[in-house]
């Protein structure tokens, strides 16, 4: 028998931990405008490099450069800025409300606002998102009332979901926002099924699937890629890589593949990687992927490179596992500040107007919060009726539930 060296298990580690100094200098962030924009019907084999680069539009000077910039109007961008500011202000108030004991739980978007806010503007009425819990910008940018979102967070008597769901697990069919599960990844294959149904029905609507970097390890992700690939489903498969799955760095889910986007290659799915903190780049890539789906060219996989500045949820304290300074060192900056700088460079915005807008947004959010709280918070005021607990389990209440409701005395 030849002598054999003992095997050893390799467990990936992030590059730095609390006590270290973050250093991104060796990471290649391609300059804005440097990545080509292929035609939407390009052969997937010819655009494999798009899965390893980062598509960027806004440069350090705040200018929009390169082929992915598109032609947004000033008004569209000012509206986009306001969407992101609203989401950030909304998060701040709800986070505070949770700390005040007005609800049980909250999850914020800090640093990731551009992705859902920009993506939403590229969709058409009737399209359906299958979101995770960190895409509330899809609702805000779609004009969904923030008061209704707050009622859901408070599980109060105005809660459209009748108090049944954890805070932030919104649902609005008419706004193209599929009910959030809370079990990770399940929505990914459902989005593919929804898109297949649209194609089966010779409809014109498309679906958008959403997942985080950590949850790409779930089986649902892989089933979704197989089905999307096999049936060329009209779906955009979005991966939001915010670097952290609670305390677990993205390398644990990514494993040996270079990027999350490159997972699409094995399925023959065109796969792109984009600066998720760049409102214009997100908008440009979303439009490209959505056009592919709309033209029946099949699925597109998009990885948004971003950073989760806040904790995973209100139940999480990131200082236990990552550097407090890591987000400051994050090279892709803040999505709101970057779009703001671009608008100032373009002469349509100023520091003063931004300050004024911040005050307006805050007032709007506070007014909505006042209205929502008039309908109750989790532990006080109005709340959904106990009878609601037994409704909607089935379309028609079966005898055993009628008996149980009777037993409950409600």
């Amino acid at each position: 028998m030849p002598e054999r060296a003992p095997l050893s298990l390799q467990v990936p580690e992030p590059e730095w931990r609390p006590g270290d100094t973050p250093d991104y200098s060796h990471v290649n962030f391609p300059p804005a405008g440097s990545v080509d924009r292929p035609p939407v019907d390009a052969n997937p084999r010819d655009i494999r490099d798009l899965a390893y680069t980062i598509i960027r539009v806004l440069n350090r000077e705040g200018q929009a450069v390169g082929p992915w910039a598109g032609t947004p109007t000033d008004d569209e961008l000012l509206t986009g800025l306001r969407h992101m500011m609203t989401l950030r202000a909304f998060d701040a108030r709800m986070l505070q409300a949770q700390r005040q004991g007005k609800t049980s739980f909250y999850m914020q978007h800090l640093g990731e606002e551009a992705i859902s806010c920009a993506f939403r503007t590229a969709l058409s009425p009737g399209d359906m998102n299958f979101p995770t819990y960190r895409q509330a910008g899809l609702l805000i940018a779609g004009g969904y009332p923030i008061k209704d979102m707050m009622c859901q967070v408070y599980s109060n008597e105005g809660d459209p979901l009748k108090g049944r769901q954890l805070p932030v697990m919104y649902s609005s069919r008419k706004d193209g926002f599929f009910s959030i599960s809370g079990n990770l990844g399940t929505q990914y294959i459902q989005a593919v099924g929804w898109a297949m149904a649209s194609a089966i029905s010779n409809d014109t609507k498309i679906a958008a699937a959403w997942i985080g970097d950590g949850s790409t390890a779930e089986n649902d992700f892989h089933a979704a890629l197989v089905f999307a690939s096999t049936y060329k489903a009209p779906v955009v498969l979005n991966i939001v890589n915010n670097q952290w799955a609670i305390s677990t760095f993205q390398g644990i889910a990514r494993g040996g593949s270079g990027t999350f986007a490159s997972r699409g290659h094995g399925f023959g799915i065109p796969s792109l990687r984009v600066d998720g903190n760049d409102y214009l780049a997100v908008r440009g890539v979303a439009s490209w992927a959505i056009e592919r789906a709309r033209r029946n060219l099949g699925p597109t996989l998009v990885e948004y490179v971003t950073y989760r500045v806040g904790g995973h949820s209100t139940s999480d304290d990131p200082s236990a596992y990552r550097l407090k300074t890591e987000s400051d060192a994050w090279p892709l900056g803040d999505p709101i500040l970057r779009l703001k700088a671009h608008l100032i460079v373009g002469g349509v915005w100023s520091e003063e107007r931004h300050k004024q807008a911040e005050a307006e947004v805050r007032d709007t959010v506070i007014a909505a919060q006042r209205e929502a709280e008039a309908l109750g918070t989790l532990h006080s005021g109005g709340h959904p009726s106990a009878r609601d607990m037994f409704e909607d389990v089935y379309a028609t209440m079966p005898p055993h539930l009628i008996r149980q409701r009777h037993d409950a005395g409600i």
Binding site: M128, F130, P160, L161, K162, R164, Q165, M169, S171, S172, R173, F178, S179, S181, N183, T186, Y188, I189, Q190, A191, V192, G193, W194, A195, M196, A197, S198, A199, I200, S201, A207, N219, D220, A223, A224, V226, F227, T230, D392, V393, Y394, A395, P398, P399, H400
Partner: protein, 338 residues
């Protein structure tokens, strides 16, 4: 009326449902061109085209997960899991998604979906082709669970399941596909063409979910059974001469408690029979309900006859299977009890 096997009845139900409603789509492993390993979807792709009946990758999670999305869109998927034993990769999509979608979205999204799967043993399928996982579904709020025992019921119940606004688990006892089976495995197979319930009306009909059928009226005791065990119970009654009332539950959720309770109040004795393992099986639920609703009529403890709490073995299939002798023994025990 024409005779059909259970396979033909199930195929016919899907054919009629697809004909009536273009929103009905059928898919699963080997379901399309070939028509299913048990032939339950034979000819549907040829008749309705590849976009309404198609083959899928081998991914039960993918089949059910995609079907949930399709149902949310507004289609009515009727999907096949090749064996109930293969269902587990899809379980999260069934339990956390299909079953709860209406509830968690307050009715904005619904999931009219049928998941068909062959269940039960008696075909030398070993531990991965013989299981009866019905209790894993009856335990889940938001699901309906149906187990037909004959071609006429299978057709009417499947059409009702496809038309139902909620997700339905449709368990097909595979040992009944080609004929009733009473547990006497050494005897020749009786084909459905020799059985009254093999007569299947042509065209559309639906049987309401939640209604049991009394297969044999009797005064001595009540047997609660479903699927293959209906015939085992009938055989035990025949062979012992005990005047058992045999109830075929047909739907486990929602359960026809009225029929069950009326019968037990009449006979005062109850035997529950299923092929699945015993502990936390659906029989436990039945026994608890009978105890709760018929306590003052009971002359004897409720007795369960079930598969053993072991995996379903291969060579020892007939030692595992709760055949007519084990059922007969239970009959005598509940009759002898004071």
């Amino acid at each position: 009326m024409p005779h059909m096997t259970m396979v033909q009845a199930i195929q016919n139900a899907q054919d009629i449902a697809m004909e009536r409603d273009e929103k009905v789509v059928v898919f699963g492993e080997d379901v399309g061109y070939f028509g299913g390993v048990f032939r339950c979807t034979a000819g549907l792709q040829r008749k309705y085209g590849k976009t309404r009946c198609f083959d899928t990758p081998i991914s039960e999670l993918g089949i059910v997960g995609a079907a949930v999305g399709m149902a949310a869109y507004g289609l009515r998927p009727c999907v096949e899991i090749q064996f109930a034993d293969y269902m587990y990769p899809a379980y999260d999509q069934i339990v956390s998604e299909a079953a709860r979608l209406r509830y968690r979205s307050a009715g904005q999204f619904t999931c009219p979906l049928v998941i068909r799967m062959p269940t039960g043993g008696g075909i030398f399928g070993g531990q991965t082709h013989s299981q009866s996982p019905e209790a894993l579904f009856t335990h889940v709020a938001g699901l309906k669970t149906v187990v037909p025992s004959n071609p006429a019921d299978a057709k009417g119940l499947l059409i009702a399941a496809i038309e139902d606004p909620d997700p339905v688990i449709f368990l097909e006892p595979k040992r009944l596909y080609n004929g009733p089976f009473d547990g006497h495995h050494e005897r020749p197979i009786t084909p459905w063409k020799n059985h009254q319930l093999g007569e299947v009306a042509e065209g559309f009909y639906a049987l309401p979910l939640g209604q049991a059928a009394i297969r044999r009226e009797g005064a001595a005791l009540t047997v609660l059974a479903y699927g293959t065990m209906v015939y085992v119970a009938l055989s035990a009654a025949e062979e012992t001469g005990i005047d058992a009332e045999v109830i075929d539950l047909r739907t486990l959720v929602p359960l026809d408690l009225d029929t069950v309770a009326a019968s037990v109040r009449k006979t005062g004795r109850c035997v529950v029979v299923h092929e699945a393992t015993r502990t936390s099986g659906f029989g436990a639920e039945l026994a608890a309900l009978v105890q709760r609703h018929c306590f003052y009529s009971l002359e004897a403890p409720v007795r369960r006859v079930t598969g053993w709490d072991t995996p379903y073995p291969h060579a020892q299939e007939w030692d595992y299977f709760p055949g007519p002798e084990r059922v007969a023994r239970a009959f005598r025990e509940v009759l002898e009890a004071e």
